[in-house]
C-alpha cells in the first residue's frame, strides 16, 4: 500500500465547504431562541456614573437586560491572563480585573456594559439604543511608547506597567559590546494588526433546566480550554455541566483562542432566563473587540566585529497589552518573543527586556506567529542594516553567523534539534536568482523605478509546548495534546483529537497519518474534533502545534492499537506476539502464511466468537473493544526555519511599492500533504506581506479606532501579490516520531522583514515604518532624490 503521508490528498472537508454545507455557529438555530445585542462603551476610558435600563425594558420584544451589577452579584468571574510573568525585580505581574460586563469603569471603545436579550435581533437592537449610560469621560492612554507616562488606567497599577521582564544577562552583553568594533542600532515599530478572521465571532448558548446543563456553541480554537476557563475562573458551571462545541470555524489566527465576554455572558444569561441565546458579531464589532496583534516599540542593538561576527545583542521593547491582559496576552511578548530574539545566529551574549503596558485600546493577544514575528522582524532588520553598514553581502553575513552544527544550543533558551540553515539559504538564493538581481535593478532604473531586494533567515519555536518547559516558564497548564483512536466492529476508524481545525485541514492530514499507521483506507477514517462531549480533553490549535503535538498523539494511539492487534492476532493464530508483524493493515505471523487483517482483528475484539469458533480471541489481561488513547507531551519545541527573499519595485513619483517576486524556502521537517502546506504558506505570506505593506490598526488620541472597517483597514487582496515561489529543505525533527515541525505561522513570521528589507534596500537604506504606504515611501523617495543631488 502506497504511503499517504507526503502526497497531495484532496481535502476531505472541501466538499462540505464548497457546497455551502459547512455548519458554523451562526448556522445553528435552537428552538425558542432569543437574540443578544451588547451595549458597548463609545469611550476609550470612562467611569460609569449611571446606567438606566427602564426605557429599554419597555421596548417591544425585550426578554431581559443584564448589566455588570447582576454579573457581579452572581459572582461570575472575569477574563484572565493565562500566564504569570515575573518582573526582573522579582515582583509578580499586575493584572486588573476584567469583568465580562463592565460595572464601574470602561477601558476601551467596545468594552461591553450591558446585554439586551430580545425575541428578535431587530428588537434587541432597537432596545439596546434605549439603554442610557451616563459616562464620566476620562483622558485615554493610547500610545504604546508613552503609556508609562499617561494617567493611571487601572487603580494600583503604577505607570500602567504590567511587568518589566528580562531574559538574558545584561552584564555579559555589556562585556560583549565593550569588545565590539561596531554597534548597529535600530528603532522599530511593530504595527498593530487586527486578525480579521473571515467568520466573525459568534455564540449560541443553551440551558437545559432538567439536567442543569449549559451548552455553548462558539467560535473557538480550543473548546476544552474554553470550558476549563469558564468553569474554573468564570464560575459559569462545573465542567461536567458545561458542554462547549466549536463547530466549523472560519479562521482564527489566534483571535479565537480567548474566552470572550460574550461567551461567558450568554452562557450565564441562558441559564438565568432559561432560554437559548444567540449572538453573532457584526464586522464592526469584530474590529473593535476581537483581540489585536503585535504593537511593539523596540530599540535593539547588535555588537559586531569589523569582519561581521556577531558578539552581542540587546532588545528593549515596550509591548502594548491593550486594556486588559488576556489568555496569551502576557506570554506573547515574553516567552514566545524573547527566546527567539537572537534569530538563527550564534550570538554569545544577549538579553531581551520587555515592558508590557496597559492602554485604552482593545486587548492585544496572540496573532499568527505571536511574538516570533516581532522577534524576527527586529533581528532581521538589524542584520540587514549591519550588512549595509559593514559592506558585507547580506547573505554572506548571515551565513557567517549561522550555527555550524546541530543540535544548536542557543544563548538564551532553546536547543534547536535539527536544521540546515546554509542549505536553505543556498536554495533560496538559487530559486530567487539572487545573482541576477543587479541586472534587474538596472532594468528598473532605466524605467525610472527603484528596485530592492530583501532577505530574511528565520527560525521559530512552535509545536507549543512541552509541559516541563511551559511550567518552568510560569504557566500552570502543560500544553500536551490528546487523541483517541476508536475502531468500529466493522473496521472503520474514528479519531478524536483535542486539536481544532479552523482552516488547517485536519480532517485530511490527520486521516492521512492514521491511514498510514493503521493500513485502513482513508475513506474509512473520520476525524472528530471540537466538542467537549466527544473528545477526552484537548488543548486546541495555535502555535503551529496541531501536527507536531496533536498529530503525534494520534500516531501514538495508533501504535497502541497495533500493539493490541498483535497480541490478539497471536492468540487467534496460536503464535507468539513477538512473531507477529504489522504491515499495510495486516498482522502476519512471521515465517508463515498465517495472517489477520486489522478489520478482522477489530471485529474479533468487539464480537469474539461470531465469526470464528466459540473461543475468545482476547489474551489474558486484554479487555474487549479496540480503542486507545494517548496524551502526548512533547520533549521539546519544534523549530521550523528558512530563508525568504523578496524583490520590490518602487515608483518614486507615487510611492507605490510593487512586490515583484517572493521566494520562500522553508524547512518544515517532514511534510504530510504538500498541497495543504502550500495553502498554509500562502496564507501566512499574505498576512505577513499585509503587515509590511498594507495593514495597520490605528487609534486616535481619544482612543477611537480610526481603521474600524474595510474602507480604512487595508486587507490585502489577491491582486496585491505576485505568484509565490515556494520550496523546501526538509530536515526531519529528531524530537518526534513523524519528524514534523509545523508550517502555519512561518509566512507571517518571515514575510514582514523580508519585504521591508527589500523596500529599505530600494530606498538606499532609509528607514520606513510598517506598513510601507505610498505616502511614506513617496516621502522617502523625495529625501533620497535630495541626498543624491547633494552627493552629486
Amino acid at each position: 500500500m502506497a504511503s499517504l503521508v507526503g502526497s497531495r490528498v484532496e481535502r476531505k472537508e472541501d466538499k462540505r465547504f464548497l457546497t455551502g454545507k459547512g455548519r458554523y455557529t451562526a448556522d445553528i438555530n435552537l428552538a425558542n431562541q432569543t437574540y443578544a445585542i451588547f451595549v458597548r462603551s463609545p469611550h476609550a476610558r470612562a467611569s460609569i456614573k449611571k446606567l438606566n435600563i427602564d426605557k429599554a425594558l419597555k421596548s417591544s420584544g425585550v426578554v431581559s437586560i443584564l448589566t455588570g451589577k447582576e454579573i457581579a452579584d452572581d459572582k461570575i468571574g472575569g477574563l484572565i491572563a493565562g500566564w504569570a510573568i515575573r518582573s526582573e525585580d522579582g515582583t509578580e505581574m499586575k493584572c486588573p480585573g476584567n469583568p465580562p460586563l463592565a460595572k464601574d469603569n470602561v477601558n476601551f471603545v467596545g468594552d461591553p456594559v450591558a446585554v439586551v436579550i430580545a425575541e428578535s435581533l431587530a428588537e434587541a437592537k432597537e432596545a439596546a439604543e434605549k439603554v442610557e449610560v451616563d459616562y464620566k469621560v476620562l483622558k485615554a492612554v493610547t500610545s504604546t511608547a508613552d503609556a508609562m507616562n499617561g494617567d493611571t488606567i487601572h487603580e494600583g497599577i503604577d505607570k500602567n506597567l504590567c511587568f518589566d521582564w528580562l531574559l538574558g544577562d545584561r552584564q555579559k552583553v555589556k562585556e560583549a559590546f565593550d569588545k565590539a568594533d561596531k554597534v548597529i542600532s535600530i528603532d522599530i515599530i511593530n504595527n498593530r494588526l487586527i486578525p480579521n478572521a473571515m467568520e466573525p465571532r459568534a455564540c449560541v448558548a443553551d440551558y437545559n433546566a432538567a439536567s442543569e446543563e449549559i451548552t455553548l456553541y462558539t467560535t473557538s480554537q480550543n473548546p476544552h480550554l474554553s470550558r476549563l476557563i469558564m468553569s474554573a475562573f468564570g464560575n459559569v458551571a462545573p465542567e461536567h455541566k458545561l458542554r462547549v462545541v466549536a463547530p466549523d470555524v472560519g479562521g482564527g489566527f489566534g483571535s479565537k483562542i480567548n474566552v470572550y465576554n460574550e461567551d461567558i455572558v450568554c452562557s450565564w444569561a441562558a441559564k438565568k432566563i432559561n432560554r437559548a441565546i444567540k449572538w453573532v458579531a457584526e464586522r464592526s464589532e469584530s474590529f473593535l473587540t476581537d483581540i489585536h496583534g503585535r504593537d511593539h516599540v523596540t530599540h535593539a542593538e547588535l555588537a559586531v566585529t569589523k569582519d561581521g561576527k556577531f558578539l552581542g545583542f540587546k532588545n528593549e521593547t515596550i509591548a502594548n497589552l491593550g486594556a486588559y491582559a488576556r489568555v496569551f496576552g502576557t506570554v506573547t511578548p515574553t516567552y514566545l518573543f524573547g527566546p527567539c530574539a537572537t534569530g538563527v545566529y550564534e550570538i554569545p551574549a544577549a538579553y531581551t527586556n520587555v515592558k508590557a503596558v496597559y492602554t485604552n485600546t482593545a486587548p492585544v493577544d496572540a496573532y499568527r506567529g505571536a511574538g516570533r514575528p516581532e522577534a524576527t522582524y527586529t533581528i532581521e532588520r538589524l542584520v540587514e542594516k549591519a550588512s549595509m553598514e559593514l559592506g558585507i553581502d547580506k547573505t554572506e553575513l548571515r551565513i557567517k553567523n549561522f550555527p555550524t552544527a546541530f543540535p544548536f544550543k542557543q544563548t538564551l533558551v532553546h536547543t534547536v534539534d535539527s536544521g540546515d540553515y546554509v542549505a536553505g539559504m543556498e536554495k533560496a538564493k538559487q530559486m530567487a536568482d539572487y545573482k541576477g538581481f543587479e541586472a534587474r535593478r538596472k532594468e528598473s532604473e532605466a524605467k525610472g523605478k527603484l528596485r530592492g531586494i530583501g532577505v530574511t533567515s528565520y527560525f521559530e519555536a512552535c509545536g507549543i509546548a512541552p509541559s516541563a518547559a511551559v511550567m518552568s516558564l510560569g504557566c500552570g497548564v502543560g500544553l500536551w495534546e490528546s487523541a483517541e483512536v476508536r475502531f468500529n466492529p466493522t473496521g472503520q476508524v474514528t479519531v478524536y483529537t483535542g486539536s481544532h481545525s479552523h482552516g488547517q485541514s485536519h480532517q485530511t492530514t490527520f486521516a492521512q497519518i492514521a491511514a498510514d499507521e493503521l493500513g485502513v483506507p482513508i475513506e474509512n477514517i473520520d476525524i472528530v474534533h471540537g466538542d467537549t462531549d466527544k473528545g477526552t480533553f484537548g488543548m486546541g490549535t495555535y502555535g503551529s502545534r496541531s501536527l507536531a503535538v496533536g498529530g503525534i498523539a494520534i500516531v501514538n494511539a495508533c501504535k497502541k492499537i497495533v500493539e493490541k492487534g498483535k497480541r490478539v492476532t497471536a492468540k487467534m493464530l496460536e503464535a507468539n506476539p513477538e512473531d507477529v508483524e504489522f504491515k499495510d493493515g495486516e498482522f502476519i505471523v512471521s515465517k508463515s502464511n498465517k495472517k489477520k487483517t486489522i478489520g478482522e482483528v477489530a471485529f474479533a475484539c468487539y464480537l469474539p466468537g461470531v465469526r470464528d469458533e466459540m473461543k475468545s480471541p482476547l489474551p489474558e489481561g486484554d479487555e474487549p473493544g479496540l480503542k486507545e488513547t494517548s496524551f502526548y507531551d512533547p520533549s521539546n519545541f519544534s523549530f521550523p526555519a528558512g530563508t525568504h527573499i523578496a524583490e520590490v519595485e518602487i515608483d518614486p513619483e507615487t510611492g507605490h511599492v510593487k512586490l515583484e517576486k517572493y521566494t520562500a524556502c522553508d524547512d518544515f521537517g517532514r511534510i504530510i500533504n504538500p498541497m495543504v502546506v502550500e495553502g498554509q504558506v500562502h496564507g501566512g505570506l499574505a498576512q505577513g506581506i499585509g503587515q509590511a505593506l498594507y495593514e495597520n490598526a490605528e487609534y486616535d488620541e481619544t482612543g477611537q479606532l480610526m481603521t474600524g472597517s474595510y474602507m480604512d483597514y487595508t486587507m490585502p487582496r489577491a491582486d496585491n501579490f505576485p505568484e509565490f515561489n515556494i520550496g523546501y529543505t526538509c530536515t526531519h525533527a529528531t524530537t518526534n516520531p513523524l519528524g514534523v515541525k509545523g508550517c502555519g505561522e512561518a509566512g507571517a513570521i518571515a514575510a514582514p522583514p523580508t519585504v521591508m528589507n527589500a523596500v529599505i534596500d530600494a530606498l538606499g537604506g532609509q528607514e520606513v515604518t510598517m506598513p510601507a504606504t505610498a505616502e511614506k515611501v513617496w516621502k522617502a523617495c523625495k529625501n533620497l532624490k535630495k541626498s543624491n543631488a547633494k552627493a552629486a
Binding site: E653, G655, Y710, M711, T714, M715, A774
Partner: protein
C-alpha cells in the same frame, strides 16, 4: 436598520410622485443600503428605480455616448460600443470597487451621491457631460455642487448621462488601498477646442484643474505639466494621504493620463 416602505416604480413619473422629504431613490443601493444598516441614514420610503426599463442601456451616436442612469458599472465596462467610442470610460467603470459592486452599482447612483472620491464625476466633468433628469438637462460643471451635494432637487430623478466623445482621453487613479476609492483620480480628455483635467478625490468635490487644462491646451504633452506645484491648501488630508501628497499625485496621475492618451 429601521423599518421602511419599499416601492418599486414602473416609470420616472411614478418614482417622482412617490418622492418626499423622507424618501430616497434606490438603484444599486451600494451606498444607501450600508448607510441605512449602519444607522447613518433613515428613510420612510425607498423607491426602487431598477425596474424602470427606460433608465437602462447605452446609446452611441457620432458625437456622444448616452448611458441610462440605472445602467450597471459592469454593463459600461463590458460594452463594446463604449470601448470603441470612449475606451477610458469603459476602463474607469472596470476599476470601480470590486466585482460585487460593479454587478449592482449604477452610474446614476454614483453621480447622484457625488462622493468626493467617486470615479464617475470626473468622467462627467472631463467629457463635458449633460445630465438628463426627468425635469431638465444639466451641464456637468453645474451639477456637482459640493461634498455629497448636487443640483438635483427633491424628487428629481437622473434618467441618463450624455458624454461627449473626445479626441483622446484617459483616466488614471491612485486608489485608496483599502476601499479602492480614488485617493486621487485624474480624467484627462482632449476635445477639439480644449483639454479638460477633471480631478476627483483631491478636494471636497470633483473639479476641472484650470492650470493644467491651460497648459495642456497649449501643448498636449506631459512635459508641459511636469513639476507643476499645485496649491494644496484646499486639498483633503486624512490618514491615507496628506494634502501635500495629494497635490503631488494630481500632477503625477495627470501626466500618466496624458502619456496614456
Amino acid at each position: 436598520m429601521k423599518d421602511f416602505n419599499y416601492h418599486s416604480a414602473k416609470d420616472s413619473k411614478e418614482a417622482s410622485k412617490l418622492a418626499s422629504s423622507s424618501s430616497a431613490f434606490l438603484a444599486g443601493g451600494m451606498t444607501t443600503i450600508p448607510s441605512m444598516k449602519l444607522g447613518l441614514a433613515t428613510y420612510k420610503d425607498l423607491i426602487d428605480i431598477k425596474n424602470i426599463k427606460k433608465l437602462s442601456g447605452i446609446k452611441v451616436s457620432g458625437k456622444s455616448v448616452t448611458i441610462g442612469a440605472a445602467t450597471k458599472h459592469v454593463e459600461v465596462s463590458n460594452s463594446k460600443d463604449v470601448k470603441k467610442a470612449i475606451p477610458s470610460l469603459s476602463s474607469l467603470a472596470e476599476g470601480i470597487g470590486d466585482p460585487q459592486v460593479r454587478n449592482r452599482g449604477t452610474i446614476g447612483g454614483s453621480i447622484a451621491n457625488n462622493d468626493p472620491s467617486a470615479d464617475y464625476p470626473s468622467a462627467c466633468i472631463a467629457l463635458n457631460a449633460t445630465i438628463h433628469t426627468n425635469e431638465r438637462k444639466i451641464e456637468a460643471v453645474k451639477f456637482f455642487k459640493g461634498m455629497f451635494e448636487t443640483a438635483l432637487k427633491k424628487g428629481e430623478l437622473i434618467e441618463a448621462i450624455e458624454f461627449q466623445i473626445p479626441e483622446k482621453s484617459s483616466y488614471q487613479k491612485h486608489p485608496n488601498p483599502a476601499s479602492r476609492y480614488a485617493i486621487v483620480g485624474v480624467y484627462v480628455a482632449k476635445h477639439k477646442g480644449d483639454v479638460n483635467v477633471a480631478v476627483t478625490g483631491a478636494k471636497s468635490c470633483v473639479y476641472n484643474d484650470k492650470e493644467m487644462s491651460k497648459a495642456l491646451s497649449g501643448n498636449f504633452s506631459s512635459s508641459s505639466i511636469d513639476g507643476m506645484d499645485l496649491d494644496s491648501s484646499e486639498m483633503n488630508t486624512d490618514m491615507h494621504a496628506s494634502a501635500e501628497f495629494r497635490a503631488s499625485l494630481v500632477v503625477t496621475q495627470a501626466k500618466k493620463a496624458v502619456d496614456a492618451c
